[in-house]
């Protein structure tokens, strides 16, 4: 009786937990832990940006003697990292920049992982025409130069940080899709899949219940790489001047610094911090994905 209720009742919670465990956070690799810690810090900064920032990032500030607070060095007049040539607080911009970075990174990674996974699953499981059509589409996506594509797209659409996410969803599923397809091709020949088919499971049930959970870590691997890609792409697009001027991002800060001649006036305090933030977040994604690789391909550890 007791054991009955235990096995029958918590199916929902149990399956959710099981899916979480399937993701396999790589907790035994020091670099992966460092990566997760970096993520945790940036997520906290993004969430509490309103509390952490000392100024409105786009407000033009003045010093106590009513002078424009432009080009102040770090520490001057209480501006931790100095101000831009238009008198905006660099530290506050940096703090708010984490918001757009994480927003773009996580949504883009989600789109890339989901689209790539579904494409890979369908192509690998159903084979035949589905496979041919989807893999042709992937070939074409591989032929499109990604950054130029984003530039043209961003120039034609309204300036918005979502352009990058949209472009990534259109193009970058290709890598994930191909890898997952080949993984599915080997999985579908396993005996337990045959067993499921013989016992009358529908195709959809086999795909999503029996195959999908096994490729989930692979999706997460590609997702964690895509976070970095998204942030780098957004930075490049903003830097080239196709970003949204209303949204503070690290790429926007770098563009602002470059266009305001900060390079020739030695304004290192202006353009070094945003770059370091980008590097930290992206490298955190790499570290986590390496942790995944070692779980997925244990041979690497030998």
């Amino acid at each position: 009786m007791h054991s009955d209720s235990a096995s029958a009742e918590p199916i929902r919670g149990g399956s959710v937990l099981r899916w979480i465990r399937r993701i396999h956070l790589p907790l035994d690799d020091p670099f992966a832990i460092a990566g997760l810690l970096i993520y945790a810090v940036f997520i906290l900064v993004a969430v509490f940006a309103d509390q952490l920032a000392t100024h409105d990032p786009l407000e033009i500030l003045f010093t106590q003697d009513y002078q424009l607070a432009a080009d102040l060095r770090p520490g001057e007049d209480g501006f931790v990292l100095g101000t831009t040539s238009l008198g905006r607080d660099i530290y506050s911009q940096l703090v708010y920049g984490s918001r757009s970075a994480l927003l773009i990174g996580i949504t883009a990674a989600f789109m890339v992982a989901v689209i790539g996974t579904v494409v890979g699953l369908l192509a690998g499981y159903f084979r035949g025409w589905t496979d041919i059509v989807l893999m042709r589409a992937a070939d074409i996506a591989f032929g499109i130069p990604f950054l130029p594509f984003v530039i043209v797209l961003a120039a034609f659409l309204e300036p918005s940080i979502w352009n990058v996410v949209f472009a990534m969803a259109l193009i970058l599923w290709r890598d994930t899709g191909r890898v997952i397809r080949s993984q599915v091709l080997t999985l579908r020949t396993r005996a337990y899949i045959d067993a499921a088919r013989v016992s009358g499971s529908s195709d959809l049930k086999i795909v999503f219940r029996h195959i999908a959970p096994n490729i989930l870590p692979l999706s997460f691997l590609y997702g964690s790489i895509a976070i970095g890609w998204a942030i780098l792409t957004e930075a490049a697009i903003s830097f080239l001047g196709f970003g949204d001027p209303e949204t503070i991002s690290w790429g926007y800060m770098l563009q602002d610094a470059y266009a305001s001649q900060a390079l020739s006036t030695g304004g290192y305090y202006w353009f070094v911090p945003p770059g370091i933030c980008i590097v930290l977040v992206v490298v955190a994604g790499f570290f986590i994905s390496r942790g995944y690789e070692e779980i997925l391909f244990p041979k690497l550890k030998e």
Binding site: G143, P148, F239, L254, L263, F271, V279
Partner: protein, 309 residues
């Protein structure tokens, strides 16, 4: 393949909300004048007809005229292509020579302190936005130290007859150093990590053990036997890296005002010079597709085992 890319490009440029003649049409133009212009460029015809004209022109190498330069796009693109190729190849050659040597060395020194420290360092170089790296190098070596010029391919006022004279001049090489280093630092990670993992794999194979048993020196085993075999996949990745780099050049060319295809694409898009933007995009796509193809070919050519599988 290229046909598919060209079609997507056509649809992108035609179906976007902005008027392709925005750069051409003055607000003072009357409705009639605008119609006349539209007719002149064939934009009043049905979409499918425009599409076939576009394909026909493409096949004949006809890319239209740039709105801004009033010059055939094909000519303009061909003028800029050499600059982009020189930058791409010089940076990739530096990156590959460095990456292959250091990668092999790291595999040899497996589990040493240097190896442990090197891997995260290499990953960090891959995490840097290329243009930011360019900005750092520019600020330090050009503006603060004054060792190298800040942008362009030549000093103002200097003239060279032909590409060869330009590319072999001291002036040009001084301009090349910073952008090439930027791209090289960014791209050395791929050959380095590939070389290292291939070496680790090859070192476990029987013929390497055999060479050791024969009593050959460590150096001979590593360089003559292991490295030569580990090199194959790294070389094929070179073609893919060229295709990849051509896209990444866009930002670095912009930072260093390098007159190449990527910077032209950015400028053309900002100036709504659609024929030129289209031409530059297509040229980049051609390089990408050709390089992907070359990589496939090289792969089966250099390693006959592949085609038997």
């Amino acid at each position: 393949m290229l046909w598919a890319v060209a079609t997507i490009l056509f649809l992108m440029f035609r179906l976007m909300p902005t008027n392709p003649l925005a750069a051409y049409i003055d607000p003072t133009f009357t409705e009639e004048q605008q119609q006349l212009l539209m007719a002149k460029f064939g934009l009043d015809r049905p979409l499918w007809e425009q599409y076939f004209i576009y394909l026909k022109n493409l096949l004949q190498g006809e890319l239209g005229d740039s709105f801004f330069y009033r010059q055939p796009v094909g000519e303009r693109v061909m003028e800029l292509l050499p600059n982009t190729l020189v930058l791409t190849f010089s940076s990739l050659i530096i990156a590959y020579v460095f990456g292959i040597i250091v990668g092999a060395w790291l595999a040899w020194k497996r589990d040493s302190v240097a190896e442990r420290a090197a891997i995260p360092l290499v990953l960090t170089t891959r995490a840097m936005p290329e243009f930011w790296l360019g900005m750092l190098l520019l600020a330090v070596f050009s503006f603060t130290l004054g060792w190298f010029p800040a942008g362009g391919t030549r000093s103002p006022g200097s003239e060279y007859d032909g590409y060869l004279a330009l590319y072999t001049s001291r002036d040009f090489l001084a301009h090349l150093v910073l952008p090439a280093m930027t791209l090289a630092i960014y791209s050395q990670g791929l050959p380095l990590l590939l070389m290292r993992s291939n070496m680790l794999e090859v070192m476990n194979e029987d013929f390497v053990t055999m060479a050791r048993i024969k009593g050959l020196s460590n150096w001979t085993v590593v360089v003559r036997h292991a490295a030569r075999n580990a090199l194959l996949p790294v070389m094929t990745s070179f073609a893919i890296a060229v295709g990849y780099q051509i896209q990444g050049n866009v930002v670095v060319e912009t930072v260093f005002s390098w007159p190449g295809l990527g910077r032209e694409l950015v400028n053309a898009v900002s100036a709504s010079d659609y024929p030129l933007a289209q031409g530059a995009f297509l040229m980049i796509a051609v390089v990408v597709v050709l390089m992907n193809l070359l990589a496939d070919l090289l792969y089966s050519l250099l390693d006959p085992r592949i085609s038997h599988a």
